[in-house]
Amino acid sequence: MTRAGFVIANLFRKRTRTILTLLSVIMAFLLFGLLQSVNTVFNAGSDFVGAARLIVQARVSFTQPLPISMLPKLEAVPGVSRVAYQSWFGGVWQENTPLIMFSLDPQRYRDVYPEYVMPDAQWQAFERTRTAMIVGRQLADQYGWKIGQKVPINSNIYPQKNGSKAWAFDLVGIFDGKDEEWKKRTNLAFIQQDYFDEANQFGLKGRINFFILKLIDSKDAERISRTVDAMFENSPDETKTMTEKDFNISFVKQIGDIGLIVRWILFAVFFTLLLVVGNTMAQSVRERVPELAVLKTLGFSDASVLGFVLAEAFTLVLVGGLLGLLLASIAGAMVERGTGGQFQLSLDLRVWLIGIVAIVLMSLAVGLLPALRARRLKIVDALAGR
C-alpha cells in the first residue's frame, strides 16, 4: 500500500456515491468538450491561416459578385504576387447533402493555395477538361468517389442552359492537405469557372464572388487592403478587402455570438457540478472526522491530511474529467465523419488543454474547503466526538 493507494481506497468508501459523482463529472466534461470544440470551430479555426492571403469581396456582401475585369488592376498592385478567384456553386450531393463547392480558375488557385497538394497530372487534367472536378481527400473518402467517375451534382442556385439543375462532373483529381491542419480542410470540391460561366443559364457572366490575393510579404496586408479598397471606392463595385483570417471570423460573427451562448451553458453546468462534487467531498470529510484524527495521532502532519483530501478531490475530478473529454473526443469524431467534415467537432489540443485547466480548478474549488477543515481538525476534540 502507498499514500496513493490510501487515497483511492478512500474514494470507494461509499461506492455508489463515488460512482454517481463520477458520472456527473463525466457528463459535465463531455458537454464541456463538445461545446468548446464547437466554439473553437466557430471562432479560432482560422488561426493557422496567417496573413499572407487577402480576400477581396464586394463591399456590401460576398453574395454580390464582382466583375472579372477587375483582375488586371488587382495584379498590378505592388506587393501582390498572384491573383485567383472563385465563385460559390451551391452544389448538392444526392437529395439534400450540401457541398462546399466553388468554381474557379485551376492554375491561379493552385498558385495561391500551395497548401493543397495534388499530383501534377491531376492538376493538368483539371485545367484541360472543361467538365472536370477535383475534390479534397475528406470528401472523396466520405462519399467513396474515385478518379474517373462521373459525379452527378445538383445546384440549388444555378440551372444549366437547358433549365435542369442537375449537373455532372468528371472527377479527375483528389487533393490532400500539406499538414494536419490543412488535411482537415479537404472537404471541398472545385470545378472550372470558365465552363460554369458558359454553361449556366443565368450566367454571372464574367462575375465571380471573390478574389484571392497572394502577397509577397504578409506584412503588407494592411497597406494592400487599403490600396485595393481605395481603388474601387465610389465605383459601382466597391470592395472590402481583408486577410483570409479576418474573412473567416467575420462570417462567423454574423451568425451570432456563439462563444457567449457556449459560455453561459458551461457556466450553468459547472456551477451545478461544483455543488454536486463539493457536496460529496464535504460529506466524505464530515463522515471521516475520527479517522482523520487517528491519522494525525499516527504522526501524519496537518498538511498531509490536507493533502489526502485534496488528492481525493483531484482524483475524482481528474478521472471523471478525462473520461468525459475522451467521450467528447469520440462523439466529436463520429459527428465529423458522419457529416463529411462539415462539422469539425473532434477535440484538438487546445480544447484538451483548457479541459485540464478546468479539471485542476474544479478540484481546488471542491476540495479546498473540506481539505482545510481536515487540516484544522483537533485530534482531541475529534476523538472525543466534539
Partner: protein
C-alpha cells in the same frame, strides 16, 4: 395507505432544512437543466414566430425559377410586367392588379454589439402596392419615403440591433447616399429590413428588373390558376409560392439546427442531473435512515416509504424547474438578437419564453425527479430494518 404516505412525506419535508446541502444539489441541478433548455428553445421559438408571422396565406410570392431565396432570384422587367397580368391575381380598388414588384439589395450596417464587423441587412425596393399588400406594416416614427428620392424607412428591428439607422442618419450604399426618414413596425421578418422606392433603387444600383413580385390572390383557387398560367407561358420561368409557405420554409434549417443542439445539450445535462439527483436522494435516504427504519419497525409499510421519498424528490425537482424557468424568463424573454437568415442578411428576433416551453421544462424536471428518486426509494423500502439501523 395514502395517509401513511402523506404522514411520512410530511416528516421528510420538515427535515429538509437539516439536509439542505443535498437538497440544494437537486434544486440547482434541475434549475440549470431547465434554464438552458428553455433559453435555447426560446431562441428557436422566437426566430420561428418571427418568420412564421411573416407572409399571408392569400398572397403569392413569385420568384425566378429555381431560386429558393429572394436573394438568388432576379428576373427582367418584361417578366415583371407579364406576370402581373396573369390570372389568379386579385384586383386593387383601381382595377389594376394588386401586385408589387420588389427588388432586394444587400446593404451593410454596423451592429450595436460588434463594431468591427459590419453585418448585412436587406434593402427592399417596393412599389406602392407593397404597402397595400402588407396592412400590418405601419409607420411608427417619422414619415414614409418620398417616391423618386433616395429615402429609406427602417424596420424597428433594425433600430434595435444596428447603428447609423436613426431618423436623419445617412446610409451609404455602393457610392450612393440615402437618408433615413422614418421607422416602421410590422411584427414580422420585415422589421429587419430597410425599405425604399423600387425605381430609385433600380436606377441607383443599375438594375432594371425585380427580385420578386408579391401578388394578392383572388380567392381560394387563385394560387392554382396563377401557377398553371405561369407554367403554360413559355416566356416566364418563374416559381409561384404561397407567401406564408415561403417564409416558414426558410426557418426550417435554423429550427432543425437549434433543435438538434438544444436536444443534445439538454440530454447530456439531463443525464448529469439524473446522476446528481440519484446521489442526493441516496444521501437523503441515508440521512433519514434511522427515522425510516423506526417508522417501518413501528409498522408503516414499505410502499408509503417509497411514495414519500419520491414525492420529496419530485418536489425538489419541481422547485428547481420553476427556479430555472423563472431565471430563463427574467434573463432572456424578449431579449433581442439577430442572426444570419436565408439571404445571408440579418434577421432580428426576440427570445420567446412561452407557457408551452415552461410546461415542457417542468415535464423534464418531473421525469428526472422520478428517475432520480426511484432507486433510492426502493432501497429505503426494501432494506432490512436492522441493516438500516446499523448503517447509522
Amino acid at each position: 395507505m395514502l395517509a401513511q404516505a402523506l404522514a411520512i412525506t410530511g416528516l421528510g419535508i420538515r427535515s429538509i432544512p437539516e439536509r439542505w446541502a443535498p437538497s440544494l444539489v437537486i434544486v440547482v441541478g434541475l434549475a440549470g437543466v431547465v434554464a438552458v433548455f428553455t433559453a435555447l428553445l426560446a431562441m428557436a421559438a422566437g426566430f420561428d414566430s418571427t418568420l412564421k408571422a411573416t407572409g399571408r396565406s392569400d398572397a403569392a410570392l413569385i420568384l425566378r425559377g429555381g431560386s429558393d431565396a429572394e436573394l438568388n432570384s432576379a428576373f427582367d422587367r418584361d417578366s415583371t410586367d407579364l406576370i402581373k397580368e396573369e390570372p389568379g391575381i386579385a384586383a386593387a380598388a383601381d382595377g389594376k392588379p394588386l401586385a408589387s414588384a420588389e427588388l432586394m439589395v444587400i446593404a451593410e450596417l454596423v451592429r450595436k454589439d460588434d463594431v468591427r464587423n459590419g453585418a448585412n441587412i436587406t434593402l427592399r425596393g417596393v412599389e406602392p402596392a407593397g404597402f397595400a399588400l402588407r396592412p400590418q406594416l405601419k409607420i411608427v416614427a417619422g414619415r414614409n419615403f418620398t417616391p423618386g428620392l433616395r429615402e429609406l424607412i427602417v424596420g424597428q428591428g433594425v433600430l434595435k440591433q444596428f447603428q447609423g439607422a436613426q431618423i436623419g442618419d445617412v446610409v451609404r450604399m455602393r457610392g450612393s447616399q440615402w437618408q433615413v426618414v422614418g421607422v416602421f413596425a410590422s411584427g414580422d421578418a420585415h422589421d429587419s429590413e430597410m425599405w425604399a422606392d423600387i425605381n430609385v433603387a433600380r436606377s441607383t444600383f443599375g438594375r432594371t428588373g425585380s427580385s420578386s413580385v408579391l401578388a394578392a390572390l383572388d380567392g381560394p383557387g387563385g394560387l392554382e390558376r396563377l401557377k398553371s398560367a405561369v407554367a403554360a407561358e413559355p416566356r416566364l420561368t418563374l416559381d409561384v409560392l404561397r407567401e406564408q409557405d415561403y417564409f416558414s420554409g426558410q426557418t426550417k434549417q435554423f429550427r432543425q439546427t437549434i433543435g438538434f443542439l438544444a436536444g443534445i445539450v439538454t440530454a447530456i445535462m439531463a443525464l448529469g442531473a439524473v446522476f446528481a439527483a440519484l446521489n442526493s436522494t441516496y444521501a437523503a435516504v441515508a440521512a433519514r435512515g434511522k427515522e425510516i427504519a423506526t417508522l417501518r419497525a413501528i409498522g408503516f409499510g414499505g410502499f408509503p416509504v417509497v411514495v414519500s421519498v419520491m414525492i420529496e424528490a419530485l418536489l425538489l425537482s419541481l422547485a428547481g424547474a420553476v427556479l430555472g424557468a423563472i431565471t430563463a424568463y427574467l434573463l432572456f424573454n424578449n431579449l433581442s438578437v439577430s442572426t444570419l437568415g436565408q439571404n445571408f442578411t440579418q434577421v432580428v428576433f426576440d427570445f420567446k419564453v412561452t407557457p408551452q416551453l415552461v410546461a415542457r421544462g417542468l415535464v423534464i424536471a418531473v421525469v428526472i425527479g422520478m428517475v432520480g428518486g426511484l432507486l433510492p426509494a426502493l432501497r429505503a423500502a426494501r432494506l432490512p430494518v436492522t441493516t438500516m439501523l446499523r448503517e447509522q
